[in-house]
């Protein structure tokens, strides 16, 4: 009756056991082989997804009285149209107005990073006084709900993009948050304010990268 190691339970013979060197080595080798395979199967990368928006998006008119309080939560929601990779079971909804949500279908704690390329504002005579990027928690089952979507994070600037930015500024925003896997969805929003008011601020490429941090 062989003994086993205390941690991984690999078999070994006692001095009093009948001599069977090939058999003992085979049993040890097979135990190690199976154990290493099981360990390897349990090591997987953290679930991750990235979505990208490639078509120009223009913010709402800057005539809105309170730039931080959209009349409807989806007024400022940025559309995404390309899936770069997705091992996290995250659903990108339609880029149509009133959709545009990024929904993690599995509950857990997530880390999300959003980036937006903001070019120089080109409308002559207008000065940019504010530009902001926010991530909010929308409702996947009711994307056009008028209930304000809670803000998860934001970043804002009041200095216009210019040649000091090499004519493009990358707004970046990261949040860590729990998503329930039933209704919670990421809503990435861009808004701007100008003097005088203009029809909106058009931005370029943007991404949202989502990592699932917990296993359940």
């Amino acid at each position: 009756m062989p003994g086993t190691t205390p941690n991984r339970f690999y078999p070994y013979p006692f001095p009093t056991d009948p001599t069977d060197v090939p058999g003992d080595l085979q049993r040890l080798a097979e135990a190690i082989d199976a154990d290493v395979c099981a360990l390897q199967d349990g090591l997987t990368g953290r679930p991750v997804a990235r979505f990208r928006g490639t078509t120009p998006f223009t913010s709402e008119s800057t005539a809105r009285a309170n730039v931080n309080a959209p009349a409807t939560p989806y007024d400022d929601r940025i559309p995404f149209n390309v899936t770069d990779f997705n091992t996290a079971n995250v659903i990108m909804t339609s880029p149509d107005v009133g959709q545009r949500l990024i929904f993690p279908d599995d509950p857990g704690f997530y880390f999300a990073v959003a980036t937006v390329y903001v070019p120089v504002f080109t409308i002559a005579g207008a000065t940019v006084s504010y530009m902001g990027l926010q991530i909010r928690r929308g409702d996947f089952t009711n994307p056009t709900s008028l209930v304000p979507a809670p803000r998860l994070g934001g970043t804002s600037h009041n200095v216009p993009v210019d040649s000091f930015d090499r004519n493009v500024r990358v707004l970046q925003l990261a949040v860590g948050c729990f998503m329930n896997g039933t209704t919670d969805a990421f809503s990435v929003e861009f808004r701007a304010d100008t003097t005088p008011n203009t029809a909106g601020y058009t931005i370029g490429d943007r991404t949202i990268t989502i990592l699932k941090m917990t296993q359940s």
Partner: protein
């Protein structure tokens, strides 16, 4: 001054104890953590605007990450920062420090703060 927090949204490692210290996350395991914080500075209309700063402070004095920018007279200023922090000693903690130079009182409204372990 350090931002305070009122609601614990998710905590599977007992890092927050808002009844005892509502301004920090205290690490209960060693390892490398991904830390993020965001605050929303309200505007106060003061003609002197100057800067706003958001700082992640490790333990008593460690400046872990620092973001600063010019604020806005009549608009909120939103800031976020992210850092990796290596916890060597259980009991290490991090806080969110906010500063502003408008020359008058200025509130912060919405804010959040998270840490998640990414490696041993």
């Amino acid at each position: 001054m350090f931002a305070t927090f009122a609601t614990e949204e998710y905590d599977n490692a007992a890092m927050a104890n808002l009844g005892v210290n509502n301004d920090r996350l205290t690490f209960t395991e060693t390892g490398i953590y991904l830390v993020t914080a965001e605050v929303n500075f309200s505007s106060n209309g003061n003609a002197t605007v100057n800067g706003r700063s958001l700082i992640l402070v490790a333990n008593l004095f460690g400046n872990l990450a620092h973001d600063s920018r010019r604020g806005a007279q009549n608009m909120d200023t939103e800031m976020t920062t992210t850092a990796l922090y290596r916890v060597i000693t259980v009991g290490d903690f991090i806080r969110v420090e906010v500063r502003q130079e408008s020359g008058a009182a200025l509130n912060i409204s919405a804010r959040s703060f998270s840490a998640t372990k990414v490696a041993d």
